[in-house]
Symmetry: C2
Subunit: 178 residues, 2 copies
């Protein structure tokens, strides 16, 4: 059965951090759905370079509906962390054990979901102090995989970040722990 | 002697949170200078509604050069917290005892400067969890004055926020503690 991937975003996402996972994960044969506080509206990246229509409202879905969650960065996470549905969805997903991939400022949403304590992760450097204050262990690496939490720092890390998402969904534990 | 006020900002500030303090504090007779990592360049708000030329580079100034510091919100603080000079300037200012007025996302810069521990403050609600994790006490009020730290939440709070800045500079302790 086709694996389903949720991308959780709203306006002001870092354009490439939604576009690249969306396109590469679709090309890899997964069903990719854009989840947002509001379904059926167009959301645009902070650079105005990528616009996409959202598929489902976050309130209408649960972690059990998907095989993995991807959270792009930019200023979208700063907005999503004010939405209780987005925060609950993120927390439930991490606690479900399914892969959650967060890049750049997406760590802000992980902090609001209270799932970074005692986890090792990376993020955009401005958020590192917030991760540490939340009890997380920040490291400055292109890719960090801590159990089901897959994190990267910035658009330049996208190739290895997306490789790790695919590996995690396909259950390639050997590659994930490498 | 004319009192000098520093406004610390870079691109993507919340337009009204730079424009309103800048104009009202100038009108009140203060000398207002825009401080940025780079001097003599134009910076523009995230809404594209206000552009201003920066006066001085943050590396070239110190807290002793000013009577108060104002930090607008928006996404400017997220960028400034990556600049060691801006972080040091903010920390030195708070530790100097001179008034520091931070609105909206400006609390992020206070967190990076490690000056929120055991302080009571307010900020944009998405940042509240980061303030609490940094050891600060977040309250949801239009204006919070804790010793030399003056904080507000959002553009709607600007009138009372700017009143408090003026009171603090003029040493109107009675009004500040009201």
């Amino acid at each position: 059965m086709t694996k389903k991937i949720a991308i959780l975003a709203t306006d002001y996402f870092e354009d490439s951090e939604l576009k690249a996972p969306y396109e590469r994960l679709k090309d890899a044969g997964f069903k990719v759905l854009v989840i947002c506080p509001v379904a059926g509206r167009e959301i645009t990246g902070k650079r105005g370079r990528f616009t996409i229509k959202t598929d489902l409202a976050v309130e209408s879905v649960g972690a059990v509906d998907f095989d993995a969650l991807v959270i792009p960065g930019g200023y979208s996470p700063d907005r999503l962390r004010l939405n209780p549905g987005a925060v609950d969805f993120t927390r439930d997903f991490v606690q479900s054990g399914r892969p959650v991939a967060a890049i750049c400022h997406a760590a802000q949403l992980l902090i609001s979901a209270k799932v970074v304590k005692n986890r090792t992760l990376t993020c955009w450097p401005s958020v590192a102090v917030d991760v540490e204050n939340a009890g997380g262990h920040y490291v400055d690496e292109a890719l960090v995989v801590d159990r089901n939490l897959i994190t990267s720092r910035k658009p330049e890390d996208l190739p290895i970040f997306i490789d790790a998402i695919i590996s995690a969904i396909e259950g390639d534990e050997a590659e994930l722990s490498a």
